[in-house]
């Protein structure tokens, strides 16, 4: 890892320079206080300090819906490249996003490698950007508030300048190609950086106790709290759509036009009623409460057993987007008997 400093006024020039590595994608404002990730040409539209975009970056790697395979009548089934987005520079990734990217890698790049994910992933350049938490952030509780790997370059704003961390050979390329933008970091820069980290640590208002979470959850499997949450949940799937690590998908076969068959893939959510229904009609999770519980157990218990950490990064999107106000932090407080 190398560190540099960059003058804050160089930011537009830096973003222009990033375009050499691919389509520049950054948060832009959609409505008052709401942001979406979007390819931009005009760098002044970028709002890297925006805390959350409605959909997380996973949409850059896997579209909500894309064609996987196609077959024309009389021909062979062929792979199609509907999901291939070319080289992308994702500008404005926060620490939690970068942790989420690692989790997606665990899901999609282990055992059988998903080629649709891999092709976009390998061409993805990640430029991080330091943030300050709001009332929905609880990344600190999950240890995802800082990040040491998984990005190419990371900018931490320090008033009139940025501390620039470089973590990959591609990041190194970017710095070397634009020497006029960077200078070595000074002691004052690192001092201010540490000060900022401290300040940030103190600004979290939401916290979740994850001590022994899998064991606690195992003991609480039959707890009435799951029925309670089940009664409140609309099963609209919004939490899964906006979750940076929810990665389930459906496979749909269709004939959109004469002589052409397409196998498409769409994001799915385990809260949807037919999620576990098999051919013949048996539904292994017909009860709403079972589906809700499954979502929490998959992320906070089973994933920990498998990979040593939960597949939740504390970004707060599900809390912000749940129409009935189901709050993961509160749910776990209930589970622990604290509420």
């Amino acid at each position: 890892m190398q560190t540099f400093r960059m003058n804050a006024s160089f930011l537009p020039a830096f973003m222009e320079a990033l375009k050499r590595w691919g389509t520049l994608v950054a948060p832009v404002e959609r409505g008052a206080g709401t942001y979406v990730l979007q390819a931009i040409d005009d760098v002044s539209l970028a709002r890297p300090d925006a805390l959350r975009t409605i959909l997380p970056f996973k949409k850059l790697l896997l579209k909500p819906r894309f064609a996987m395979l196609e077959r024309r009548d009389g021909g062979r089934t062929e792979e199609v490249f509907d999901n291939d987005m070319g080289p992308i520079v994702y500008f404005g990734a926060h620490a939690c996003d970068i942790h989420a990217l690692e989790i997606l890698d665990l899901i999609y790049m282990t055992d059988y490698v998903d080629p649709y994910y891999r092709r976009n992933r390998e061409r993805l350049t990640v430029v991080g950007y330091g943030c300050m938490p709001d009332e929905y952030c609880f990344c600190e509780s999950l240890g995802t508030e800082t990040v040491e790997r998984g990005f190419d370059v990371f900018l931490t704003p320090l008033g009139d300048r940025f501390l620039v961390t470089v973590c990959s050979a591609r990041g190194d390329d970017i710095v070397r190609a634009n020497p006029e933008l960077f200078e070595p970091a000074s002691r004052a820069d690192t001092r201010d950086y540490l000060k900022r980290l401290q300040e940030r640590e103190q600004s979290f208002s939401l916290a979740m106790d994850v001590t022994d979470l899998p064991y606690v959850l195992e003991l609480k499997r039959e707890d009435p709290v799951w029925d309670e949450v089940g009664k409140k949940c609309l099963c609209c799937g919004s939490c899964s759509m906006v979750c940076p690590t929810c990665a389930c998908f459906n496979v749909v076969d269709e004939r959109p036009e004469l002589g052409r068959a397409v196998r498409a893939r769409t994001w799915d959510a385990c809260l949807y009623r037919d999620y576990a229904t098999v051919a013949g009609g048996h539904n292994f999770r017909a009860d709403r409460a079972d589906r809700v519980r499954n979502r929490y157990y998959h992320k906070q218990e089973a994933f920990v057993r498998e990979f040593g950490k939960p597949s939740c990064v504390g970004c707060g999107r599900c809390i912000e987007n749940c129409p009935t106000g189901i709050n993961v932090v509160e749910v776990f407080k209930y589970v622990r008997g604290e509420l």
């Binding site: 395979l69 055992d111 994850v210 397409v262 799915d268 229904t277 098999v278 051919a279 040593g308």
Partner: protein
């Protein structure tokens, strides 16, 4: 903050590949060599990959499955009722149960092509079973994967001890592979115990009643026997506890489970129970592992 079990970020294993190609979602074309009804709603399809190199090299473990697809119609997981000891072709036993299988039954016959991906899943632990007696317990369509195991055992007969097959069906017309099983029994390769829920007025010499009752018929040396059970969700409910009551260790009972499987490679999430993917880590589990994954055995 405390992460419970610290573990560095390392993929669990090297990338795996399917026999059918580097893109695990891309099916390889296979031709239907033979299609014959086993019983009115279950048909046995014999397939061969059109690529002859793949056809000759294709192998799998008994208990694994493949995804069969017809583009534009659908894709579904099907158990292999044949044994890898017989090369060149493989079989699928398919029951008519939905849109894809309707299409297979209505429109596809010998000479037509379908897409196949596989082999998928873990399969039965055949190496572990070698040298022991085997008690195979099948309910209904559960006979399909067990027939693959049975064929494997018969082809390598000297490696296994006694082989008992306990098989329950709805009625005498629903018994799969009946002639073949009876001929194996006559040869002495397998001890066959059949039951039906009801005779429905058809001639029947076996037992009438639920399949669990067959367990009362057999006498075996439990400590040197492995039990392998396969059937619909309701079948497991009584079967497993009865086997335990007979003295089987929970790690000496294996079962093959059904779930909604779409991708077959542990990505899409539909068959997951916790982080256990029935398609990837299963479909074969020891009873001990399965009972420690709440929800896995559906009651």
């Amino acid at each position: 903050m405390s992460v419970v079990i610290p573990k560095p970020f390392v993929p669990r294993g090297g990338p795996r590949e399917l026999a059918t190609g580097p893109n695990p979602y891309l099916p390889a074309p296979a031709r239907i060599m033979r299609a014959a009804d086993l019983v009115p709603d279950v048909r046995l399809f014999e397939l061969r990959f059109t690529d002859s190199t793949l056809a000759d090299s294709f192998t799998f473990r008994p208990g694994q499955f493949v995804e069969l697809s017809v583009e534009g119609v659908g894709e579904g997981p099907f158990s292999l009722p044949s044994s890898p000891t017989r090369r060149g072709v493989f079989q699928l036993g398919i029951r008519r149960a939905g849109k894809l299988t309707d299409f297979l039954f209505n429109y596809l016959s010998e000479g037509d092509e379908v897409g196949i991906r596989g082999p998928l899943g873990n399969g039965f632990p055949v190496e572990r079973l070698e040298g022991s007696d085997l008690m195979l317990v099948a309910g209904g369509l559960g006979m399909v994967p067990l027939r693959g195991l049975l064929q494997y055992v018969v082809d390598l007969r000297e490696r296994f001890g006694r082989v008992m097959l306990l098989y329950g069906s709805r009625n005498p017309d629903a018994v799969l592979f009946r002639e073949e099983l009876e001929s194996l029994a006559r040869r002495g390769d397998v001890e066959l115990h059949l039951s039906v829920d009801a005779t429905q007025g058809k001639p029947w010499s076996g037992r009438v009643g639920v399949v669990t009752e067959l367990l009362d018929e057999v006498v075996c040396d439990v400590p040197s026997t492995y039990a392998v059970a396969c059937g619909p969700p309701v079948f497991y409910k009584f079967m497993l506890e009865k086997l335990v009551a007979m003295g089987f260790g929970r790690d000496r009972i294996f079962l093959s489970l059904e779930r909604r499987m779409e991708c077959g490679i542990g990505k899409c999430g539909h068959c997951a129970v916790g982080y256990t993917f029935t398609c990837l880590h299963g479909p074969v589990f020891s009873y001990w592992d399965a009972m420690n994954l709440p929800e896995l055995i559906y009651t």
